[in-house]
């Protein structure tokens, strides 16, 4: 199958659609983390895929992902400043969310959520994207590195930096 894909290329609609399905969500989320506006993230994500389709003859499948991110990054340059990234929490029950917890605990938990959200807004763009791609999209450092066309070491540095900034921000607010 890989062989067939390589030969047929991205101009085949089946392959393009397959590629879209496996990469669109992550690209959209990356753009969302990057500049905070869901509508714009959706829009630029679609625009990047339209460009990919239009240039399918010149982009081998192996280069398609980095093409997408390059187009998306260039588009972002012209966008307005970063807005607040709105994130939700999964409804799944975590060990700390049992109903027998004291009201004080629940209150503290809500406060912590607010703090971490605020701290995430204040991360640098590169730290935030790397951190959220890992935490929300479950991407491995090596996958993030390939996406952003940087080394794994650089991703690790961003993650480390993000954690340090988050803790400092959260504890300063206290």
């Amino acid at each position: 199958m890989e062989e067939i894909k390589k030969i047929a290329g991205i101009c085949e609609e089946i392959i393009f659609s397959d590629f879209f399905r496996s990469h669109a969500k992550t690209l959209r989320n990356y753009l969302l983390y990057k500049f905070g506006n869901e509508e714009q993230a959706n829009d630029i994500c679609q625009e990047a895929f339209v460009k990919l389709w239009e240039n399918c003859a010149n982009v081998p499948l192996g280069k398609a992902r980095s093409f997408l991110y390059t187009v998306a990054n260039n588009a972002t340059l012209n966008q307005i400043a970063h807005q607040k990234v709105v994130l939700n929490y999964a409804k799944k029950e975590s060990p700390s969310q049992h109903t027998n917890e004291s009201p004080e605990f629940i209150l503290e938990e809500e406060q912590f959520k607010k703090k971490i959200e605020r701290a995430i807004q204040n991360l640098s763009e590169s730290q935030r994207t790397a951190f959220l791609l890992n935490r929300i999209d479950g991407k491995k450092y090596s996958e993030i590195a390939a996406m952003l066309d940087i080394s794994v070491k650089a991703v690790e540095k961003r993650i480390h930096g993000a954690l340090v900034s988050l803790r400092q921000e959260i504890e300063n607010i206290k």
């Binding site: 669109a24 930096g161 959260i170």
Partner: protein, 298 residues
């Protein structure tokens, strides 16, 4: 900056041993642990993949650039084909194996798969290009013993059989398409249907519909053992098979029977074969010459 611990490694669950122990004892650990837990349960807004894909297709109503460039690619391709065509002509020749009536042929494909071709049957394939074009055309009936790990397509006018390291029999005569799988698995395609046939099973297709799916009684096709096996066959089908096996002509225009025949007939003894058929259908046969038999009512 806090550089005492490799936090990226810790977040990925790769911190172990004494380093992890020391980190867990450090005063900042509690907050980091909370950050890890809470950020792990965050979610991005829902992404509607289908809707988004439809939007992309709508926005990309332009044809892909490659299509506009097709004429150029075609021109280049045509030039290459014309200049190299003569060179490849000899390599591109089709090899044909043909078993006449009353004859069976055994031969091997370039990948060492073995084929036994039944009487009055033909196989065409490209010897030189076998590696890139594992395709053969079959008219009639043949038994295939495919070399391990090899795969190819058997095309007939009634359907296609795709194989992977297996033993199977394909019969495509008149409107009758029969595939029997003796080992491994084969994929059978006819009309717009696809079925997967497993070891020890057979399928019969007539006029594009499946008329029988039956388990196999033998380990080899009966014709390889000098027998022809019939399952619910009409007299016409039985006689046409006998004619091609023995290379004879059987005159039966006066006989009109709708009775179906199930049973085996030898392929190496015409008298026994005709006696069996005669008994089943209450007919007498007269040999008028070596090559001609006439069937009459008892």
């Amino acid at each position: 900056m806090e550089n005492n611990f490799d936090l990226a490694k810790w977040l990925a669950g790769e911190m172990t041993g004494s380093e992890l122990e020391a980190f867990e004892k450090s005063p900042e650990f509690e907050t980091y642990q909370k950050i890890k837990t809470y950020s792990g349960s965050m979610e991005a807004p829902v992404f509607d993949t289908e809707k988004s894909y439809q939007n992309v297709i709508k926005r990309a109503n332009k044809k892909p650039a490659q299509k506009q460039n097709y004429w150029f690619i075609k021109l280049v391709a045509a030039t290459i084909v014309i200049s190299l065509g003569t060179v490849f002509y000899s390599k591109n020749k089709t090899t044909t194996q043909y078993a006449e009536a009353g004859q069976k042929i055994t031969f091997s494909l370039p990948d060492h798969s073995e084929i036994v071709l039944n009487s009055n049957s033909k196989i065409k394939y490209k010897k030189w290009k076998w590696k890139s074009n594992r395709n053969l055309q079959l008219e009639g009936e043949a038994f295939f013993k495919v070399a391990k790990g090899e795969t190819f397509d058997v095309n007939t006018s009634l359907g296609k059989v795709t194989v992977v390291g297996t033993q199977f029999n394909v019969k495509s005569r008149n409107q009758n398409f029969e595939v029997a799988c003796y080992e491994g698995k084969v994929k059978v395609a006819f009309g717009n249907k696809n079925i997967l046939l497993e070891k020890g099973n057979s399928v019969t297709v007539q006029n594009g519909t499946i008329t029988a799916r039956m388990p196999l009684g033998t380990e080899k096709p009966s014709w390889l053992l000098n027998e022809i096996q019939f399952n619910n066959s009409t007299l016409d089908q039985v006689l046409s098979e006998v004619q091609s096996q023995y290379g004879i002509e059987i005159e039966h225009s006066q006989i009109n029977s709708r009775q179906y025949f199930t049973g085996a007939v030898p392929t190496d003894n015409i008298d026994t074969a005709m006696t069996i058929i005669g008994k089943a259908y209450h007919l007498n046969y007269i040999k008028t010459s070596d090559k001609k038999i006439i069937l009459k009512k008892e």
